[in-house]
């Protein structure tokens, strides 16, 4: 039993280290591919590592309305993201068994958004407040989607246990798995919003809100926020792959692991392509779009509970 717990902790830690290591790399890939699409040479794929190091080495300036909250928001943001990393399988089986249920994961995902709200409140300027009001609206429309996706998984596996849901499949049903397929479509269509990229980077919108909630951040704190955002891209991709594209991940160790990361890379490329070929939506247009997806997701939930 004790060995088991130590083993779980070790795998969780390994996950955190993996996420911290590969997140800037994926950001680098994203930037490089974006540059190629835009007929630019682009920075080397290792550039985000140097960017983070450079920012971390800068002076730690306290600014905004409440500097303490500003600091707290960024620590909490990174901590939340890394906690999620402990729970999500990174190419192996779910690391923690019997330690929590999907509700915990849903809460943690919401907490990520709350950190952005705190950051915006701490800055206290008109632009950051506009940013958080947009962030809030997005959260209200968006978070239920992921929650439903996890609940659909829970319905299929007849369990709320996190590892059971993540190791199970949304496609596990006797008949054609309608609910799983619908949720796959819904999540794919809203994925840009979860990772806060164009066309749904509405709450930061550089050309409108001057980065909104992040506007007062600089130096090490900005580095941590950026790090959290990069990690978010990896974690959401991993979650998506685990829930919706599970095929091939169960192969023997190096093979299944490689297939998993190949799928994550594929998803990052998808995000890059969409971001490079779209204009930003306005908040009202985005909310209407999310509302449509939410209706679809609810349909999927009903179908799932009837066994489809």
């Amino acid at each position: 039993m004790h060995r088991n717990i130590i083993w779980m902790i070790l795998i969780g830690l390994a996950n955190v280290v993996i996420v911290l290591l590969v997140a800037p790399f994926f950001q680098g890939v994203l930037r490089k591919i974006t540059a190629l699409i835009q007929s630019r040479q682009g920075p080397p794929v290792w550039q985000p590592y140097f960017d983070l190091l450079k920012l971390l080495g800068k002076e730690d300036i306290e600014s905004g309305e409440s500097p303490l909250m500003q600091r707290f928001a960024v620590y909490l943001s990174l901590a939340t993201v890394l906690t999620i990393a402990c729970l999500v399988p990174m190419g192996c089986a779910a690391p923690m068994n019997a330690v929590g249920d999907v509700i915990l994961l849903i809460y943690l995902l919401t907490l990520c958004g709350i950190c952005t709200l705190l950051a915006g409140l701490a800055a206290g300027s008109t632009y950051s407040l506009l940013g958080i009001s947009r962030e809030m609206m997005t959260m209200i429309a968006l978070e239920p989607l992921f929650a439903i996706a996890l609940v659909v998984g829970a319905v299929h596996t007849h369990s709320f246990r996190l590892d059971t849901v993540l190791n199970g499949s949304v496609y596990a049903s006797a008949a054609f798995p309608w609910s799983g397929v619908i949720m796959l479509a819904v999540m794919l269509l809203s994925f840009q919003a979860f990772v806060q990229r164009v066309p749904f980077d509405i709450s930061e919108a550089e050309t409108e809100l001057m980065e909104g909630p992040l506007m007062e951040y600089s130096g090490p704190k900005l580095a941590l926020f950026k790090y959290a955002q990069m990690a978010k891209l990896v974690i959401y991709s991993a979650l998506f792959v685990t829930l919706f594209v599970p095929w091939g991940s169960s192969l023997v160790f190096p093979l299944g692991w490689l297939v998993f990361w190949a799928k994550v890379t594929g998803l990052v490329l998808f995000v890059t392509l969409v971001a490079a070929t779209h204009a930003r939506y306005r908040i009202d247009q985005a909310i209407r779009y999310f509302a449509g997806l939410l209706v679809l997701a609810l349909v999927a939930l009903v179908l799932a509970s009837y066994g489809y």
Binding site: V198, P199, T207, E208, M210, R282, D284
Partner: protein, 558 residues
């Protein structure tokens, strides 16, 4: 004929109030009217004869005629006529009837006349300071002839702040600018926001007013001014360069050689190409579509190179002198230019095809920043903004200059009144510009580049010139003068009118649409005011004043 017709109409309606008239050619009309009839005449021209308001000019004419002078310029676009209504204002009582009531587009111009010359537009409802800096003392008017160009007025107060109007109830104030990622130059909008909706705004601009007109009429000479005029704008500088030269030429009745006219046309169109491609890129950047931004600027780059090959500069071509141009287009450049145009056309066509089908861009631009025909008329909007609202005006066709009367091109008009229509107008105008340059290269004849002018230019003549800049009509008004320089030179850039339409365009629409609405007129605003340094050892904050900064920048490093 047209000029005489209009004059007869005016004489028939106002009789003796029309004092005298000047018709140097059929496309220009200068009418002197009695000050008391000024408002009625302007109303008649603007409302009954449906003239387009261009600009108002004030002038300190006291050393010459003993009066102040006020002129309102109108354009009859379909009839190819530019018309100026002038009146003398007594020196001891500089007041004139405001025409803003009947011609709303004159709002800024009249406030500017009040600021700079001190002629009060009686009956103007909102005579708030427009151009002068906040600390400038009241009652000092820098464009008067007894005020030296380098004089600092007594009582200049660096610390005085601008007083803004009270925001409407229930609205929060969002400061937009002077520094914002989508503003390339400092200007300030105080937006009144309710939720995400813009309910109104107040504008405070002219932060980098450089007094170029004052310099021109007190320090520079006729042939130095084009170089200065070019520096009015960093993007459509050549337009001002040409417009000034043409205004002086029209006042002095000089006609530049045909080859010079073709070269002017080519450079103006090269400038339009680079400006439109730049704009499409920026507009896409504003709505978050950076790929189009990068591609558009990549396609634009060869235009900059060919401009450098012709003039020695990517921008700021230093093209005109009075009576001609300074650069030739050699056979070698001619071939290269043709190649650049072919490549540009081949690359731009698929871009336009892709953009015009893109639903995503349309979502952000359709129905946004709407300027209806009424606003176009009343605010005097020009250029792509007017053409996107169905107003078929283009100075290249309506008031032909340079070689445009010998060329065949289409005026692109759309009817959506929104940002999307402005995108379409600009994107398609690129093809027309390519067509124009090709025709010029074909038709251009050999000959001298400029006249050799031996005599002094005549004194006290009026000259008007309208040039279609990438952003709309750029209008120059010149009165020739002594000492080899004009007595008065008034520049009206297209943004001067288009910016006045912005409050109506952004009202009652989302804050997110503010930047693209403002961007859609392709605004042209230039600049450090003050900055703060903190001594780390003592922790003392020091605010640098503008004066200290200027001293710092001018100090020679030892």
């Amino acid at each position: 004929m047209v000029a005489r017709e209009k004059l007869n109409l005016l004489k028939g309606k106002f009789g003796a109030a029309v004092q005298r008239a000047d018709m140097p050619c059929d496309e220009r009309l200068f009418v002197f009217v009695e000050a008391s009839a000024l408002k009625a005449v302007c109303q008649y021209l603007f409302r009954d004869l449906d003239a387009r308001y261009v600009i108002s000019i004030g002038m300190d004419d006291r050393p010459f005629s003993g009066h102040f002078l006020v002129a309102h310029d109108f354009a009859f676009d379909r009839e190819h006529l530019l018309c100026s209504v002038l009146t003398h204002v007594p020196a001891d009582n500089p007041k004139v009837d405001s025409i803003t009531d009947v011609v709303p587009a004159a709002n800024w111009a009249e406030r500017e006349i009040y600021d700079l010359i001190g002629i009060e537009p009686v009956g103007h409802r909102y005579l708030k300071r427009l151009v002068l800096p906040d600390g400038w003392p009241d009652g000092v008017h820098p464009l008067r002839k007894d005020f030296a160009w380098n004089q600092v007025p007594e009582g200049f107060d660096d610390t005085k702040e601008f007083k803004f109007d009270e925001p409407p109830e229930g609205c929060t104030v969002v400061p937009f600018g002077p520094f914002h990622p989508t503003l390339d130059e400092p200007t300030h909008f105080r937006l009144y926001i309710e939720g995400e909706m813009v309910r109104g705004c107040e504008y405070r601009g002219f932060m980098v007013h450089r007094g170029i007109e004052k310099l021109a009429e007190s320090v520079l000479t006729y042939n130095e001014i084009p170089m200065m005029a070019e520096r009015i704008c960093g993007i459509c500088g050549c337009v001002h360069n040409v417009a000034y030269a043409q205004a002086v030429e029209s006042a002095a009745a000089i006609k530049p050689p045909p080859r010079a006219e073709y070269i002017r046309t080519i450079m103006l169109e090269i400038e339009r190409l680079h400006s439109h491609l730049l704009w499409v890129g920026l507009a896409c950047h504003i709505v978050g579509f950076d790929t189009m931004f990068m591609q558009s600027w990549r396609i634009r780059e060869p235009i900059m190179w060919i401009a450098e090959k012709i003039s020695g500069n990517r921008k700021t071509y230093a093209l005109c002198v009075i009576g001609g141009v300074r650069w030739d287009i050699t056979p070698e450049v001619k071939d290269e230019l043709r190649g650049v145009l072919d490549k540009l056309e081949a690359e731009w066509r698929p871009v336009v095809a892709a953009v015009s089908k893109d639903k995503n861009i349309q979502k952000r631009t359709r129905g946004v920043g709407v300027a209806d025909r009424n606003l176009v008329k009343n605010a005097g909007l020009v250029g792509p903004v007017a053409r996107a609202s169905g107003a078929d005006i283009d100075c290249r066709r309506d008031h032909p200059y340079a070689a445009y009367d010998r060329l065949d091109f289409k005026v692109i008009v759309e009817s959506g009144c929104d940002v999307w229509s402005r995108v379409l107008v600009r994107a398609n105008e690129v093809f027309e510009s390519i067509k124009i340059i090709r025709q010029c290269l074909e038709k251009m004849e050999d000959g001298p580049l400029h006249l050799s002018l031996k005599d002094e230019l005549p004194v006290g003549r009026f000259g008007l010139s309208s040039v279609e800049a990438p952003r709309g009509e750029s209008h120059h008004f010149v009165i020739t003068g002594e000492n080899n320089r004009p007595r008065r030179w008034r520049v009206r850039a297209p943004t001067y009118q288009n910016l006045q339409g912005i409050p109506a365009m952004i009202k009652d629409q989302q804050f997110a649409d503010m930047t693209i609405s403002l961007g859609s007129i392709d605004p042209c605003f230039s600049c450090t005011d003050r900055l703060e340094t903190i001594d780390l050892r003592s922790g003392v904050a020091k605010v640098w004043t503008q004066e200290e900064l200027i001293k710092l920048t001018r100090a020679k490093k030892a």
